[in-house]
């Protein structure tokens, strides 16, 4: 078990016992700490809930952008889709509040849409053209939902009216579970043959094609796998906020921040994405707590600073310092 976990968590660190130990302690702490404190009363719980959501999206973003090398700025589209599946399903009486079927359906819908959009985009567009295309898709969806009329609730959005309250610990454990599953699945993906093929096509597409990898299929596969997680998170977010509005759930922040987190941690490394989402999540929370007006300003500046000063990421930097 121990060896398995350590192989699991580090793409690059293989036999480090420290990592296994630290991650086990973290997981235990996160499972147990709601027992000792009242989650409804402390801000810290909300703080962790938020970081979990960002961490899940960031880890899944890393699959398509870090592992497969296809930069996407369109993950907000899938987040918004998930939120709207939950909201419309609840309003029209298909699902009850906090329904497991809504989570599954939103994941399936967004995987199908990601595959449908991904085939033409990934077949024709390389590099930043794909980035522009995904940004276009997510903005198009936002405007479609604003102009959707009765079905999407227009610019006013949809309110999930219910007296039913699941309590904050439910949200906490749901987000924790989603994040844990995401990390586990993506760790399996990183170590699997699919992950190897994706890495091969990232490093040299022509060479990968010449040894018999169907690059297009693999890229679309990575794109749709990475689209499922934001949709599930969006679903959870809709249930948490009980209010869905295009400019909130299709906000470019939902694709920007996960990208920023993975970039800060180190593109294409699982631990990097986790570290990055903790660092940036904490900074975002502190800024929005103390200087709400400056919040996007500082994150924008941070994004630029990361790109200019730390292009390889924090994780690489720390590893270099430890090695020295």
């Amino acid at each position: 078990m121990k060896n398995f976990l350590s192989e699991f968590l580090g793409e690059k660190i293989r036999k480090s016992k420290n990592i296994t130990f630290v991650s086990l302690v973290c997981v235990l702490f996160l499972v147990l700490f709601p027992i000792f404190v009242d989650l409804e009363r402390i801000y810290f719980a909300f703080f962790i809930f938020f970081i979990f959501i960002y961490m899940a999206i960031s880890v899944s973003w890393n699959i398509v952008s870090g592992l497969a090398g296809q930069f996407s700025l369109g993950h907000a589209a899938f987040f918004g889709l998930g939120a709207y599946v939950a909201a419309i399903g609840f309003r029209d009486g298909f699902f009850s509040f906090f329904d497991l079927r809504a989570f599954i359906l939103s994941a399936v819908i967004s995987m199908v849409i990601a595959a449908g959009v991904g085939y033409p985009l990934l077949a024709r567009l390389r590099g930043f053209y794909f980035t522009l295309g995904t940004l276009g898709v997510s903005e198009t969806l936002r405007l479609l939902f604003i102009n959707g009329g009765e079905f999407t609730g227009g610019a006013w959005g949809i309110r999930l009216r219910t007296a039913f309250d699941v309590g904050f610990s439910m949200y906490y454990y749901a987000s924790f579970f989603i994040t844990l599953i995401t990390i586990f699945l993506s760790a399996i993906l990183y170590r699997s043959k699919v992950g190897l093929n994706l890495r091969a096509l990232r490093d040299d597409e022509t060479a990968a094609e010449s040894i018999g990898i169907n690059t297009l299929n693999y890229k679309v596969l990575a794109f749709s796998i990475s689209a499922a997680i934001p949709a599930i998170c969006g679903c959870l977010f809709a249930y948490y906020l009980r209010y869905v509005e295009p400019n909130i759930v299709f906000n470019a922040n939902w694709s920007l921040y996960p990208a920023l987190m993975a970039l800060l941690g180190g593109l294409g490394s699982l631990i990097g994405a986790i570290m990055g989402s903790i660092i940036i999540g904490a900074i975002i929370q502190l800024i929005s707590l103390y200087f709400p007006a400056f919040h996007p300003l500082i994150s924008g500046i941070m994004l630029v600073a990361v790109m200019v000063l730390l292009p390889t990421g924090v994780y690489e930097k720390i590893r270099k310092i430890i090695r020295r």
Binding site: F128, L132, T140, A259, F294, G300, L303, V308, P311
Partner: protein, 287 residues
């Protein structure tokens, strides 16, 4: 449909489209020379419009204050290039860093001004000229002439002067041109700043005629990219035709379907164009 109505839609579309042409020119200068994707371009345009708006309070007409703003944007361009874009040169990282820049500028605008829609009304905005079936504010005519004039000046600059030759050489092959004695770093810097000057021009032209708020920046960038992709990169005068085409399509969509759908046109067009015909109508290089 009424013929007068058709003429009006066409005229308004063409005049609006010239703004997109100038944005496309700025983008093509920056992208063509350095392969930098500047997503913040449209937001920088809007920043120019806000500066012009504030100058009105000092009693300066936007078209008068525009020459004063151009050097400011030139210097900003030099700072941005040396500070940020010199280190994030490839398309991927410049996309991300310019998106960060976009967020920062957007928030700065919201802090210093407020996010309600504004118009920087010029002296020309109130003089109406009857042009066939439509009454057109003369500021839009000024805008059209300004845009056409700018495109021709840029064409002349790129084709006939040594600095234009150096910019074109750098965009073809930076390494070889540096062997031929071109200071690539400064040529890139100048090209970037020229791009920002074009952004300022487009912003003031847009601001005197249309309502703007901090959030129209990204759609404007996208419209610029659409126009640029349609024309094909490196085709300086081609954008003068494709800009109005986009303007007309937007006008028709806005009239027939609804104003809320206008921005979708650009987003859908960019996806379709990139997939179907990435070389543009007028040939040129691939964007």
């Amino acid at each position: 449909m009424d013929l007068n109505l058709v003429i009006q839609i066409l005229l308004y579309g063409v005049l609006r489209g010239f703004v997109y042409s100038i944005i496309a020119l700025g983008l093509s200068l920056i992208f063509g020379t350095m392969k930098i994707v500047n997503l913040a371009h449209g937001t920088l345009c809007i920043l120019g419009a806000y500066f012009a708006f504030s100058m009105i309070n000092l009693g300066l007409d936007p078209y008068v204050s525009m020459p004063l703003l151009l050097p400011l944007f030139f210097i900003t361009g030099i700072c941005l290039y040396l500070g940020i874009f010199q280190k994030t040169r490839d398309p991927n990282s410049s996309t991300v860093s310019s998106f960060g820049l976009l967020m920062a500028i957007q928030t700065l605008i919201q802090i210093f001004w407020d996010p309600t829609p504004k118009t920087a009304r010029s002296y020309f905005s109130d003089i109406l000229i009857p042009l066939g079936a439509a009454n057109i504010a003369s500021s839009r005519i000024v805008l059209a002439f300004l845009c056409i004039f700018t495109a021709f000046v840029l064409y002349f600059l790129l084709r006939r002067t040594w600095i234009g030759t150096a910019i074109r050489a750098t965009s073809e092959d930076a390494e070889t041109s540096s062997l031929m004695g071109v200071n690539v770093k400064w040529i890139n810097c100048i090209a970037f700043s020229l791009g920002l000057i074009l952004a300022c021009l487009a912003g003031v032209a847009y601001g005197t005629n249309y309502a703007f708020d901090p959030f129209v920046g990204l759609p404007l960038t996208f419209k610029g990219v659409v126009v640029l992709t349609l024309a094909g990169i490196g085709s300086t005068l081609g954008v003068l035709i494709t800009g109005p085409i986009l303007g007309i399509i937007e006008g028709i969509v806005g009239f027939q379907i609804g104003l809320g759908w206008i921005d979708i046109v650009a987003y859908l067009m960019i996806i379709v164009i990139l997939i179907v015909r990435p070389y543009g109508i007028f040939g040129g290089r691939r964007l």
